[in-house]
């Protein structure tokens, strides 16, 4: 990104963009406090899952006018689900730069050893539930002392992994108007039960109490893991790991996969020259998003994804095939509270400390309480949840 900024500055002598890196753990806090004091930068990055809260707080400038303006971007060059992610009450509040979808990383060496290969001897990643279970079983190898030496699969990020499987089972999270949380439904319970079964019944994934999941994959002790495209750079540094990427297998009747996006957002009070300059920079980054992709990202715009250069990035392009059907987290201004409740339910179920239905019921009750509180505080101002 820094190289892109430098090049932009060189090509546009009338504009100077200064970049500041920040740790994600504290970025939103700092951004929020800066925004409160009116000291936010002109341009900043907000994840799709957090767009609702920033838009509602009035920190973001809408960009529908700029998209359709002279220096605009063709909306046909954006996937509808991705563009919808930055919408709040009918307006759009950022330009998605990438889609960091989750995908399946698999260890090619372990696949070959287990004989899961096609006629040419190339490892053949599973694409549906049957193939996935079969592969996971064949890739789980018992070791001494009853503990497998090698696991077929591992849950890395519970939230994104299980959210995906729930969506694939057709599970809904809210009523269409977002007035009620319905996470405890038959589809989600079945999906969560399937995940628990991978650990407890089929024993093809390690229990979460005592396993460092992603490290396990990197050490070659795990054959398959679902992780975001942003983990690619991490793996590419490791020369002794023979891995590749594929779309997440379809476990249920629906195709779905978790994703989030980095969106380029503008401070709400921008106008005049500053606004024009900022937008020019945003458009430059979007137009050149293939450079961003090279570092382990997937560009939002199909025109960029269809280019030969992107097609050569094998893992990125494999993951990118999922973009048209990616699912973002629910559109909530109180997304972090939702994530706490949802994450806790998954944790309890995976650890076998509650049944999937019981765990999801607790989450559902708590989230409905949050909705009620939020409605009381915001609905009167016309700032309720935007479905």
């Amino acid at each position: 990104m820094l190289r892109m900024v430098k090049r932009f500055n060189a090509e546009n002598p009338d504009i100077q963009a200064l970049m500041q890196r920040m740790d994600w753990a504290t970025c939103y806090n700092k951004l929020f406090v800066a925004g409160m004091g009116g000291r936010a930068p002109e341009l900043f990055v907000v994840h799709t899952r957090a767009i609702q809260r920033f838009a509602r707080a009035g920190f973001l400038r809408e960009n529908d006018d700029l998209m359709s303006g002279a220096n605009g971007i063709d909306l046909a060059d954006l996937d509808a689900n991705v563009w919808k992610g930055v919408e709040y009450h009918g307006k759009h509040y950022g330009l998605p730069l990438d889609v960091h979808a989750m995908g399946m990383y698999y260890n090619r060496k372990l696949f070959r050893e287990a004989g899961i290969v096609d006629a040419q001897g190339t490892p053949r990643p599973p694409t549906n539930r049957e193939e996935f279970l079969d592969a996971a079983k064949r890739l789980t190898i018992p070791g001494s002392g009853g503990r497998p030496d090698q696991w077929g699969f591992v849950f890395t990020n519970w939230e994104s992994n299980i959210y995906t499987i729930m969506r694939q089972f057709g599970g809904e999270f809210f009523t269409p108007d977002y007035q009620k949380c319905i996470v405890n439904n038959a589809e989600n319970v079945a999906a969560l039960q399937f995940c628990v079964d991978l650990i407890r019944r089929y024993k093809v994934a390690p229990p979460p109490e005592n396993f460092d999941s992603w490290i396990g994959f990197r050490q070659g002790k795990v054959a398959m893991a679902f992780e975001g495209i942003y983990m690619l750079a991490d793996l590419q540094k490791q020369s002794d790991l023979d891995f590749s990427g594929a779309p997440v297998p379809q476990m249920g009747d629906h195709i779905a996969v978790w994703a989030d996006s980095h969106n380029l957002c503008m401070r709400s009070d921008l106008s005049g020259e500053k606004l024009a300059a900022t937008w020019r920079f945003i458009k430059y980054l979007s137009d050149n998003s293939l450079d961003w992709a090279a570092g382990g990202q997937i560009p939002t715009r199909p025109s960029r994804r269809n280019s030969p250069r992107f097609q050569q990035m094998s893992v990125q392009s494999a993951f990118a095939r999922q973009v048209p059907y990616v699912n973002y987290l629910p559109r909530l201004p109180f997304i972090f509270e939702f994530q706490t409740e949802f994450g806790l339910a998954l944790e309890k179920a995976l650890r076998g400390r509650a049944t999937p239905a019981d765990a999801l019921q607790v989450a559902q009750d708590n989230i409905n309480r949050i909705i009620a509180r939020d409605r009381e505080a915001n609905e009167a101002a016309g700032r309720g949840i935007s479905a």
Partner: protein
């Protein structure tokens, strides 16, 4: 003469002034600002201005399971961490007192060293130590075929935090207790020995009673510090697994800076403040009675 005496009456305040200014600006004023805030519903995510809600935030806390859970976790931490910290600090101090001066200063520095480390560094360090796959501790245990889920199991997580805290904080109480021990004249022990008192008796009859003021001081400080535990938990477990190590301060932090519910967070902070004040009051009363 009189004016001079009047002046000297205020000299003390003059010397205290720099601190008083800082104390007022950075402690007292925020404290009361927080109290005001705790009576408002102010959510930074909402475009609405802050709204006066009376004691509604406090009422919410009393019905908030997460508040009670965090409070329980905090008290559990205090009960698990304070006795071994003080006990071990006293043991080390007693041992150091008996050591020759040169060696004593070396060990004193060694035991105090972890305390000067910032919590972020110490926390990251211990998170690696505790890693169940390739952590230092499990590497030591591997030959015995033991693998402990230090921070990933609900039963182990809190004791692991306590163990790390022990290592990190033992230096302070140890120093204070050592100073206290050194203030007890050697001649008392000599007289006791002549009278035939065994070391154990000497400890219970001489050391402990004379050390009491220092001991109480150390206990009070330790409890106040423990109730506010945050850094090590946040760095090592983030409050997990299953929120089993989420303490009150972390809950307040998350309420304020993840969920931006400032009024409610201020109310929770004030409840914590009352709790600490209560502890301190009881302990200082005990101290005065002695």
């Amino acid at each position: 003469m009189t004016s001079r005496r009047n002046l000297s009456r205020y000299t003390g305040y003059f010397f205290a002034l720099p601190y008083l200014i800082l104390f007022t600006g950075f402690v007292l004023l925020p404290l009361f600002y927080g109290l005001t805030l705790s009576l408002f519903r102010w959510e930074m995510l909402s475009p609405l201005p802050a709204q006066f809600v009376g004691i509604a935030n406090f009422q919410e806390a009393f019905h908030d399971n997460y508040f009670w859970q965090a409070l329980g976790t905090t008290l559990r931490f205090v009960l698990l961490a304070m006795p071994p910290t003080i006990g071990l600090a006293l043991l080390i101090a007693a041992g150091l007192r008996a050591a020759p001066t040169k060696r004593q200063s070396f060990y004193r520095a060694a035991y105090f060293l972890p305390t000067i480390m910032t919590i972020s560094v110490a926390g990251i360090l211990w998170r690696w130590f505790y890693n169940s796959e390739f952590g230092l501790f499990n590497a030591f245990l591997a030959p015995a075929g033991v693998k402990i889920p230090w921070i990933t199991d609900v039963r182990w997580a809190m004791p692991s935090i306590v163990l790390m805290t022990l290592w990190w904080t033992i230096g302070g109480p140890m120093m204070a207790l050592l100073a206290g021990l050194q203030n007890i004249p050697i001649s008392y022990y000599e007289a006791a020995s002549i009278d035939g008192a065994k070391p154990g008796t000497q400890f219970w009859r001489i050391t402990l009673p004379l050390l009491r003021p220092v001991l109480l001081f150390v206990v009070v400080l330790n409890v106040i510090g423990s109730v506010q535990v945050f850094g090590q938990v946040y760095m090592i477990t983030r409050g997990g697994p299953e929120l089993s190590t989420r303490t009150l301060v972390q809950y307040i932090y998350e309420t304020a800076f993840n969920n931006y519910r400032m009024g409610y967070a201020a109310a929770l902070s004030w409840l914590l403040f009352v709790l600490i004040a209560l502890f301190s009051f009881i302990q200082f009363r005990l101290m005065r009675e002695q």
